[in-house]
């Protein structure tokens, strides 16, 4: 075996593989892969213990571009495969990479179960509200009226909210990011990584070819400050160019409302403080949509609980203690036997 001395500190470049990137020029995926490489460098994640597992789709090509372990599996099943990998070796640091079709169309059930079971991995969903790889059909997150090759008259089914779905599945960590926020996104990734258990991150990602500008209403530079709210635990839920707006709870209607501080008797005291352990608040934040509400990004919910693989291995350890013999001959001879001679 060659003796390779690892460099003192791994840089962003050390996390990039030698494979030519095959996304369309201008695709939002480029910035996400960069954000991920930055994240790993910031975390100094050991490449040999880091595994990217993906399904199928443009997003799912992601593992090829990382100089870590990677498994490009089949459509919709990455969560299930990753569960097996994590159970088999809890030491591995697993990131699942998936698209909105991969995760929420064919793979919705596996996503639900990996979240419910709370397997310790990071599940990153690139939501471009479209099927990129198969050339632009509408997806379960596409807005009503989306014209696509399979819906030439416009789509008619209500889109699923990835984040609300994750909360409904019992996820213990739910966050959101945007492809074009190179500073915010790595921070979200790091929070997801720090959370022990299944961490769900939805990234609003622009597909320049089949769904260009689908998030412009809140990501375009000129409107971003008014249309986004970066939530942070224990910090007031304020936004706007001058941080002049905030969210207030209307407890009669049990719904949020946007207020401008100083207007209509709204004071800073009225502004809700984000509590990332409150699931109902997370639901309220996740529900917010333009044009009347800002879109919430950051960690909407984080409420750690026991992880699945820990419990699995605890049972194995207990059984090993209770039944120390692993001699096959003992096993075969358990129960009634008799001798013929």
């Amino acid at each position: 075996m060659n003796k390779i001395t690892p460099p003192e500190k791994l840089t962003i470049k050390d996390y990039a593989s030698d494979q030519e990137v095959r996304w369309c020029p201008g695709c939002g995926d480029y910035s996400i892969v960069r954000a991920m490489q930055k994240t790993l460098a910031d975390l100094q994640s050991p490449p040999e213990k880091t595994v990217f597992i993906s399904g199928i789709g443009c997003a799912a090509r992601f593992p090829y571009y990382m100089a870590t372990y990677g498994f490009h599996t089949i459509h919709g099943r990455a969560a299930a495969i990753a569960t097996g990998t994590k159970l088999a070796n809890p030491e591995l640091d697993i990131w699942v990479i998936s698209g909105d079709g991969d995760s929420l169309s064919i793979g919705g059930n596996h996503l639900m179960h990996v979240l419910r079971r709370n397997v310790d991995l990071q599940y990153i969903l690139f939501n471009n509200e479209i099927y990129g790889l198969t050339k632009g059909q509408y997806s379960p997150t596409s807005k009503i009226g989306t014209r696509s090759p399979s819906t030439p008259m416009g789509s008619i089914d209500s889109p699923l909210s990835a984040t609300l779905y994750a909360l409904g599945c019992g996820a213990k960590f739910v966050a959101r990011g945007i492809d074009t926020k190179p500073k915010h996104l790595p921070e979200v990734f790091k929070r997801a990584h720090a959370h022990k258990g299944a961490s769900f991150v939805e990234i609003f990602q622009n597909c320049i070819v089949y769904n260009d500008g689908v998030y412009d209403s809140f990501t375009a530079k000129d409107v971003a400050a008014e249309r986004q709210i970066e939530v942070e635990h224990n910090k007031p839920l304020i936004f706007g160019k001058e941080k002049e707006k905030g969210l207030r709870m209307n407890s009669d209607k049990i719904e949020l409302e946007v207020v401008t501080i100083g207007e209509n008797e709204a004071t800073e005291k009225d502004i809700l403080v984000h509590d990332e352990t409150n699931k109902v608040l997370a639901t309220l934040l996740a529900q917010m949509e333009g044009p009347n509400f800002p879109v919430a990004i950051g960690v909407l919910y984080c409420n750690p609980s026991n992880t699945y693989e820990d419990a699995v291995h605890a049972q194995i350890a207990a059984e090993k203690k209770a039944h120390p013999s692993t001699n096959i001959n003992d096993l075969l001879r358990s129960g009634p036997t008799w001798t013929v001679d």
């Binding site: 040999e48 099943r77 569960t83 088999a88 692993t326 096959i328 075969l332 008799w338």
Partner: protein, 622 residues
């Protein structure tokens, strides 16, 4: 009973018989399977060879007394080699009218029926679909009969132990067992011991059950004394010396997987999704966690095979098990496993189909699915078990091949084999050769698709290994680098490699042996899987008549043993007996261009020996 002589015994004169088939039957709440299990153990301890067949109702707990709620357990035992659970019962224990109704047609001519008259009520006749009392209206004509009010007798016998009525009635099965113990002169002490063990914390229940066994036995002695009926004796069989146990197919397969993983020096990731009759493997492995087995009940079959494959990816032995419809769901992922060349064992406990079919009934109809049932050119290894205990060896073979060749292995067993049990000469596990896996950690000219020049298996670098970071996936990959490749010549090369790797395994499996008979002759009866018992017995019987008929039983379905073609060519006729409409025969005909004829049965039931015999006779005549 094939041969019978009368011998003088101490005290009584017992008719000696060579082999007997007894079927216990009753309502599913009657504890039939427990009685059957105890009788099996005792019979094994008495030195008989034996084979059993439990037959569960499809319903969880059908309304009491109905025909579809009848549970049965059949045991065939004898002083000769026993290979099947028997064509037709010589003795039927019917604990209610429905049990009689469902089973009487199978009884051998002049067979003995033991009925619990306590359950022979008008209500139960109606539920069973009888018009009046079958014992009185001629329904049992031509059979011998022992009638006993087993219910009442049991209640009396256990009265002193102060059980609830419900608990007391539950001892009925032990009374019936005691009666059959008397009939075949069995030692009651193993059952007594078992009862004391099982109900250690509630001795009153143990004692009541023991009292019931004894009461049933005493009842037999009474009627014998009165000359009504006589009892029998079945001498011990000549059995290879060794330490024995009874083993079900499920136990054998589970133990085989555990042993195989140990021989391969691997931990195991078993992922399953419940389905009859495969769930039992999940249950059984769930209790063996100390062997470093991760058991995972997944959300569906796709997730199960995915998690197993994910487990293999991480460097454990990935195993999954299901039955036909579940296997169908797994095929896409099996294709991925073929493409990325990782170990994966897929166990199919076959059941009657198509679709949901008859989940509790057996069939061998998933061979086509195993060999051909995937998109694209996607060869894998298919092996099969032929008796309950054989599952042990086959499971180990599956582990050997999947790890040595980095290929999925499909292991075919079936509902009959899974639930049936047989006495097993316990092997010495230490003598089973090891085949430890070596994960790659040589970084020299590393490529994930580098191959062993002989086996053509790719090497196995696992996540966690420094400096071997790489990517795998289901897209076609370069032969040289493992990177994605759409190159035409490369796809040809990779397709060829995948095929040649599997074809080459023919060099690493035993040549096909003839189970019984000569290496050439008039007729070869070819079988695979659970038809082993009836075929081998039928061939034995025909051979006793002097015919040159051989039995060839195939374990390795794909690739087939190297010598199989020439072996089959040595026979004038080849009969392929299968519990399907003709599946192995497709493979044999296409491979060897042999005009094999099918013997097929698809009724959810195993072959009877007589059916196979008859087919051979017909073929001999032509």
């Amino acid at each position: 009973m094939e041969g019978s002589t009368t011998v003088a015994m101490e005290g009584a004169i017992r008719e000696q018989v060579e082999d007997v088939v007894v079927r216990f039957a009753g309502d599913s709440g009657d504890g039939i399977q427990i009685a059957g299990g105890q009788f099996t153990l005792t019979t094994a301890l008495a030195g008989n060879d034996l084979s059993t067949f439990p037959d569960f109702p499809a319903e969880i707990r059908a309304p009491q007394g109905t025909t579809f709620g009848v549970s049965a357990f059949q045991i065939h035992f004898g002083s000769r080699e026993i290979r099947t659970a028997g064509d037709a019962p010589d003795v039927l224990v019917a604990l209610n009218p429905a049990a009689l109704k469902v089973n009487i047609a199978d009884l051998s001519k002049g067979g003995l029926i033991i009925v619990d008259t306590g359950s022979f009520t008008e209500r139960n006749f109606k539920k069973a679909g009888y018009n009046g009392n079958p014992i009185e209206n001629g329904s049992v004509e031509g059979f011998r009969l022992i009638t006993a009010d087993i219910t009442r007798n049991t209640l009396e016998a256990v009265q002193e132990f102060g059980l609830s009525q419900k608990e007391a009635v539950r001892c009925k099965n032990m009374y019936a067992l005691g009666l059959v113990y008397w009939l075949y002169d069995r030692d009651r002490s193993p059952t007594t011991g078992w009862l004391n063990d099982k109900f250690g914390k509630r001795p009153e229940i143990a004692n009541a059950n023991i009292a019931a066994v004894n009461a049933g036995h005493a009842f037999g002695e009474t009627i014998e004394a009165s000359g009504e009926t006589s009892s029998y004796q079945v001498m011990p069989a000549t059995i290879e010396p060794g330490l024995y146990r009874t083993i079900t197919g499920i136990e054998a397969i589970s133990y085989g997987l555990v042993a195989g993983a140990q021989k391969a020096d691997l931990r195991m990731t078993f992922a399953g999704y419940p389905i009859t009759p495969a769930s039992a493997i999940l249950h059984s492995l769930s209790k063996l966690k100390q062997f470093d087995i991760i058991t995972f009940q997944a959300e569906d079959e796709i997730a199960a095979v995915g998690a197993a494959l994910g487990g293999s990816y991480a460097g454990t032995l990935g195993v999954t098990a299901s039955s036909g419809p579940g296997i169908a769901l797994k095929t896409e992922t099996i294709g991925l496993a073929i493409s990325v060349e990782l170990p994966l064992i897929v166990i199919n406990v076959q059941r009657a189909g198509p679709s949901t079919g008859m989940p509790t009934k057996t069939e061998q109809s998933d061979l086509h699915q195993a060999v051909f049932g995937r998109n694209a050119d996607s060869p894998l290894v298919v092996i099969s078990a032929s008796t309950p205990a054989d599952n042990f060896e086959v499971a180990i073979e599956a582990v050997r091949l999947t790890t040595k060749y980095m290929t999925p292995v499909m292991l075919l067993t079936d509902g009959y084999l899974a639930n049936a049990s047989e006495p097993w000469n316990i092997p010495d596990a230490d003598k089973i050769p090891k085949f430890p896996v070596n994960f790659l950690n040589d970084t020299n000219e590393f490529s994930p698709t580098k191959r062993d020049p002989v086996t053509l298996a790719r090497n196995w670098p696992i996540p966690g290994t420094p400096h071997l970071e790489h990517r795998i996936g289901g897209i076609e990959k370069s032969y040289d680098t493992g990177n994605i490749s759409y190159d035409a010549a490369n796809h040809q090369k990779m397709t060829d490699i995948r095929k040649n790797k599997i074809d080459g395994i023919a060099n690493d499996i035993p040549e096909q042996k003839v189970t019984r008979g000569e290496d050439a002759g008039k007729i070869a009866v070819v079988g695979w899987g659970s038809t082993f018992g009836p075929i081998t017995r039928a061939v034995q019987k025909i051979r006793l008549e002097g015919h040159k008929v051989s039995h060839i039983h195939i374990r390795h379905i794909w690739p087939l043993p190297k010598n199989l073609g020439s072996l089959l060519n040595g026979f004038k006729k080849v009969i392929v007996a299968e519990i399907n409409t003709g599946q192995l025969i497709t493979v044999l005909r296409s491979q060897y261009l042999i005009d094999a004829q099918g013997l097929n049965k698809i009724s959810g039931q195993p072959f009877k020996v007589s059916e196979v015999e008859e087919a051979i006779r017909k073929s001999l005549e032509n």
